[in-house]
């Protein structure tokens, strides 16, 4: 499979996405705090997220002593959408964002999407029986994580060939089985 080609064939090019430049990540978790804050019910700040104990959707993972940020790539052909047995997980045809929230169908927490996502981008909500993942911050100009990252490890921008290639490096390595 050659996802890079598919990317071109798909409609991702020209869309705005958070791209990960993992080599720059410093492991400070500001993105994690910012994400939690952005999803707080009332005070949508880092403090608000901490007070409300909102769970973050982006993860910063440990990889042999280094930190690697991971958030949903909003795949062109999302495995999670195929796997979702309630229809809650869907890809918005216009924005291309993949989310299990806000639609008519409710997530029941069957964890089929967790089983399907090759990146481990979906997790169990710590308190509720629903799957939790990046919703792409549809109501924000710039997703909270990318806006907060002090290292430019998370870049919000238009997906051009180069950026798509870079952002999808993980994807490629994974799907190619490299």
């Amino acid at each position: 499979m050659k996802p890079a080609r598919e990317l071109k064939a798909g409609c991702l090019l020209g869309m705005r996405r958070v791209m990960i430049d993992a080599g720059k990540c410093n492991g400070c978790m500001t993105c994690v705090l910012a994400c939690a804050g952005a999803h707080a019910a009332n005070d949508k700040s880092i403090i608000g997220g901490m007070m409300e104990k909102t769970p973050p959707r982006i993860q910063v993972l440990p990889v042999k002593g280094r930190a690697v940020p991971l958030l949903c790539l909003h795949c062109e052909e999302p495995a999670c959408v195929d796997a979702c047995m309630t229809g809650a997980m869907r890809k918005d045809p216009k924005s291309g964002l993949v989310s299990n929230e806000g639609g008519e169908q409710a997530c029941v927490g069957c964890w089929m999407c967790i089983m399907a996502c090759p990146y481990g981008a979906v997790r169990q909500h710590p308190d509720k029986k629903v799957a939790l993942k990046c919703d792409g911050c549809p109501d924000r100009e710039v997703p909270a994580c990318a806006a907060a990252c002090p290292m430019d490890a998370l870049i919000w921008g238009e997906v051009d060939d180069f950026a798509a290639g870079r952002a999808m490096k993980t994807a490629l390595a994974l799907l190619e089985g490299a």
Binding site: C25, N26, G27, C28, P62, R66, P150, D152
Partner: protein, 650 residues
Amino acid sequence: MSICRTCHAVDRCPSAHRSTNEMYEYCRSQGIPTIFDRYQSQQPQCGFGMQGICCQLCSHGPCRITHRAERGICGATADTIAARNLLRLAVHGAAAYSHHLEEAIDTLKATALGSTPFRIGDSQKLQEVAMGFGINVAGQSERELALQLADRLLADMHKASREPLTSLSLLAPPSRREVWAKLGVIPGGILSEIRDALTKSMTSINTDPVDLLLTAVRLALATGYLGLMGTITVQDIVLGSPALTESWADLGVIDPEKVNIVAHGHVPFVGTAVIQASRDPEILSWAKEAGAKGINVYGSMCTGQELMQRSAASAGGFAGQLANWIAQEYIIATGAVDLVMMDMNCSIPALSTIAEHFPTRLVSVDKVVRLPGVSEHVDYAPEQVAAQARELIRMAIEAYRRRQNGYRGLGSQGNHHGNGRPAPYLPPYKAKVLAGFGLESISRAFGGSLEPLLAAIADGTIRGVVAVVGCTNNRNGHDTTGLAIMQELIKNNVLVISAGCMSSAAEIESLMDPAAEARCGAGLSRFCREAGIPPVLNFGSCVDIGRIVLAVTRLAALLNVDPSRLPVAVSAPEYLEQKAVADGIFAVAFGLLTHLGPVPPVAGSSLVTRVLTEDIEGLLGGKVLLEQEPKAAAAAMIEHIEAKREALGL
């Protein structure tokens, strides 16, 4: 990662020691998270903090230095922030050492007045040091001398920063004093130095990275000559100087059928008093009444090392060393320990969490030690320590009774008994240790002089000496880096001396057993065999780094060179806390190549990193080596030793 390959775990083992790995697996199987689990759940860790370029001093912060924010909100650069943070770490170390020293001085005084169970253990040292401090010793009683010396030391501690430290002028090689005087880093009283360093490192007072680093050097010198050398001197006077003695290490020394007491921390006074009391027939009869076979006092961390090196004298009857910092929870997890006495320094908060699962009673024995969940305190007071020791043993016996009611001994099916507490779980390993090394005991071992050692160094049988000292750290696996370096050094005929938690590591892996001679290069092996000593010499606890400094000072004096010219290096391969930061800076100031691992939080400042690893050598003769791969680090130290040999024409 680990040198232990005894189990079938697919994960890499977290520790270099079989016993620790087994205890970790055991705790996991019991559903009890311990240090290695917490380490994992902290991953990944923040790079700003690790590089020392996160400043949290004022309420504008935290400020982090990035390529798009090269200055904090106040204008501080990465260099300022890193240097200031480093100084703040060193201040903590200096303060804790001072506390230890003050307790030792108080004990000296009380002992002189006859109100402690201790007797002056080394009156020769008392005389020598008193003379050094300008006390007229002629015709003075021991008691008088001790009281006067105590006052002089207290006065030295409390001097103003502009009054030069007497201990330093007394103990430091003249060539060093010259270097320090030139740089203006001869310190005054340590308490004043601490005040100055804290003042400077407040936000917006001293923001010059170079001056901050020099302040750290000054502070470290005060720490070295008072906190380290002052403390060990007083301890030797009160408890006796170390003498060669055999002992045991590792969890396998625990005898579950005895009342088991662990002395944990750094300050040996309570531990010594308890050992002495435990030999009292009356107290022993209490234990027998409770059904115990006897009373054992074990050591953990540096208190254990202190007791071990004096187990031929004041700490006779010491039952063995159990573990170092990383493994402290597992001592409790054996389920066979009745009471842990926590003195100053290094009792992790997780001790009280793990103690919830086991019958062990935790008691703090120093007024500065407090842990959430620990409500029993027997705070050390020199005048009361005899009674305190009896009280502690009584508490331990009480705990022993409870432990006996909790389970019915080993070996029955399943691990849980009675009230649901697990039966003891004891990894069956123990290692023989030759302990009690120091200037005096080494010369005694060589028939009264250091000459044979000097000769061996001169003729190349021994290439040089490296002090592998300090803490233990989990970043590269518990004790793994330290042991790898030690083994590499002795293979290359470098004599290793060790103190602190690293010493525990070497003990458990039998490097302090004379039989370890077989693991050395030919020259060192022969030398050890002939002298009947192991290739890694146990110099005791981390404060005994002072003892190492005194030995190197003597070596330099005998060869009539500055210490920086000796074929000697220092490695703190797994440094952990702030006392070690002060020690590390001291070693560099003393003129020695100082290997440090893990990389201290300065890497975010190129200036601080450059000063410490390069520029400082021109000023002080020593520098920091940051090579993290153990073999390469050992190689770099050996290369340094060879270069020094060549320069000396050896």
